[in-house]
């Protein structure tokens, strides 16, 4: 956008606002982030070792690798489920006509607005063996959700459910149905049309949604906290590990794990901005 003369004129207020914003963001975000790096690589006192070697050593502790493995597993499955479900439900909501369609399109947005603690509580109240509505029934067929990895996956899938949908729905609406109809008039079946026409057009939106879901899934804490036993080697995900270690005076390990997650988040941000650019070409 071309700057107009009125807009580009700079007065004292401009500089005042600029300094205010820079200071605000520096104090609120940048400085604390810098300190995390400091705490990770140069832990103060308590005889903890510093440097990159110590950082790697803390991460290679079996309980830490267990936590990261579990987090990766849970994130992977919840992303897979949310992607399949998300693309499917987006197609249904945008392309098809059925009773309750409007309500459904509002409801699928709900999980993001619900407090993660409430999500955890909800799953417990529905599926825990002791108190849940369906817990005993599931237990009688030998299926346990609360306290197991499937429970962690469900909690994580719940909180990140709308991310793929939010990205795919607007794109589906924008591309319209002409190309799809053209494909079917050329003889393509529903599946062929989806794979060869629709999917390539929504590709970037799906990738974008997947990255967002992945970031969210790796970092989920509240819902997982409630459905997981949360003990070492027993349902302790990376985020739970950070809490447990921090409260048990093992700050260096907590910071090391946190640093990894900070990197993952920043990486996600970078990937997302690259995709946005790709998308706009």
């Amino acid at each position: 956008m071309a700057e107009t003369s009125i807009r580009s004129r700079k007065g004292p207020v401009t500089y005042l606002l600029r300094i205010f914003v820079i200071t605000y963001l520096a104090v609120l975000v940048i400085w604390p982030l810098w300190e995390v790096g400091q705490q990770t690589f140069f832990p103060p006192d308590r005889g903890a070792g510093g440097g990159f070697g110590a950082f790697v050593e803390r991460l290679s502790d079996p309980s830490v690798s267990y936590a990261f493995n579990l987090t990766a597993t849970v994130a992977f499955w919840s992303v897979v489920i949310n992607t399949v479900f998300g693309v499917g439900i987006s197609l249904l909501i945008v392309r098809y006509r059925f009773p309750g369609r409007r309500i459904l399109s509002v409801l699928v947005d709900l999980p993001m607005s619900v407090s993660p603690v409430v999500v955890g509580l909800a799953l417990v109240l529905a599926y825990s063996t002791g108190q849940g509505w369906f817990g005993s029934a599931l237990a009688s067929v030998g299926f346990y959700i609360i306290g197991t990895t499937p429970g962690l996956i469900m909690a994580t899938a719940f909180v990140s459910l709308p991310l793929v949908i939010r990205e795919v729905v607007p794109v589906l609406e924008e591309i319209g149905t002409d190309a799809e109809l053209a494909a079917s008039s050329l003889g393509a079946t529903g599946w062929q049309t989806f794979r060869r026409i629709t999917l390539p057009s929504i590709k970037w939106a799906v990738v974008y949604g997947v990255v967002l879901s992945m970031a969210r899934s790796l970092g989920e804490f509240g819902a997982v906290k409630i459905v997981s036993p949360g003990a070492e080697f027993r349902g302790e995900t990376a985020t739970l590990l950070i809490q447990n270690r921090y409260t048990n005076y093992q700050e260096p390990t907590a910071y090391a794990a946190a640093f990894v997650l900070v990197l993952a988040s920043v990486l996600a941000l970078v990937v997302v901005s690259l995709i946005r650019k790709e998308d706009h070409v």
Partner: protein, 327 residues
């Protein structure tokens, strides 16, 4: 052997898009569905293609009852107003799509694509993406893609509607020539009467979900079935108890035979080679519009305020004014 549409109805909620349509569209011809926007012509075309289903009635294509057939099985080519090209595929891939779906051998697909791109003059763009083409080129691509599967019927929905006037005119001539070459039964939707008159072998005029008239361009122009068709196909004015075309009014500066109406020139406007006069005719609410050649007008020495006498030329097309319409 043709497209036979019988008793087709379609409504969206309270809105009646098509009201008991019965028409037969001849094989090998270029037929235009002509009418104002929202009149139902696009809906009819989409029902023929199977992109939409009729509430009742039947569609028969080349002797086969297609009413219940999905679009994939109808073997029709459909060209959309906004091209609907596959943006992520090259021009050649777009054209090849229908053939690949039909699992034709690679060599055959290649020859066929080359042949079609030649036909639509896009050979040098074969490996470009549609985003690198102009609007007219995209529409030719869409046409080639539709023709690739050798459809029984080619359907075009406002094919030139999104193009600017000059390209539209070029493509129109080109479509006519193409049709003379390929001879596939073609139906196209348009709201532009000039386009329909110029390109089509036969025109179906559709308005408010009903067919107003079916006929050749000449029939429609010379023998319009009613007020609406007459008005839609060209400019219309009123002279006494009749509606007729402005160039079908004979003007003289001297009183003539009985039945001639007199009036005074109210406005005079020169547009290029013609002169358009608004004549205030006695006992008539609206002025009569008369179009003359510039030479003729100059010879008669016409100006605002001149008294003139008007009458229909011999053999002029006219329809009686309906009382409601003349209000």
């Amino acid at each position: 052997m043709n497209i036979l549409i019988a008793g087709v109805n379609k409504s969206y909620g309270d809105f009646v898009a098509l009201d008991n349509i019965n028409v037969s569209l001849p094989t090998g011809q270029l037929t235009a569905l002509l009418g104002p926007s929202g009149g139902g012509k696009s809906t009819l075309l989409r029902i023929i293609a199977g992109l939409e289903s009729a509430d009742s009635g039947s569609v028969e294509i080349e002797g086969i009852d297609a009413t219940k057939l999905p679009p994939q099985k109808r073997n029709v080519g459909f060209v959309f107003q906004h091209y609907a090209v596959f943006k992520h595929m090259t021009v050649a891939k777009n054209v090849a799509f229908g053939l690949e779906i039909r699992k034709r051998p690679k060599a055959e697909v290649k020859t066929k694509v080359a042949e079609l791109l030649e036909l639509v003059h896009l050979s040098q763009f074969a490996h470009r993406l549609p985003s690198q083409l102009s609007g007219g080129q995209r529409q030719r691509l869409a046409l080639a893609r539709a023709l690739a599967v050798e459809p029984n019927v080619l359907l075009l929905d406002e094919p030139f509607g999104a193009l600017d006037a000059k390209v539209r005119k070029e493509l129109r001539d080109w479509l006519r020539r193409l049709h003379d070459e390929v001879h596939v039964t073609t139906v196209f939707v348009t709201h532009d009467q000039e386009e329909a008159l110029e390109v089509a072998d036969e025109i179906v005029v559709i308005n408010e979900g009903r067919i107003e008239q079916v006929g050749t361009p000449d029939q429609l122009y010379d023998e319009p079935a009613n007020d609406f068709v007459m008005g839609f196909l060209g400019e219309v004015t009123r002279l006494g108890p009749f509606r007729l075309r402005p160039h079908d009014i004979e003007l003289s500066t001297t009183p003539g035979a009985p039945g001639v109406l007199s009036g005074v020139i109210e406005r005079s406007l020169r547009v290029g080679f013609e002169v358009r006069l608004a004549v205030d005719v006695e006992g008539q609410g609206e002025p009569a519009l008369v179009v003359l050649s510039r030479t003729h007008a100059r010879a008669l020495d016409l100006e605002v305020g001149t008294r003139v006498w008007l009458r229909p030329t011999a053999g002029a097309t006219s329809v009686p004014v309906l009382e409601v319409a003349s209000a």
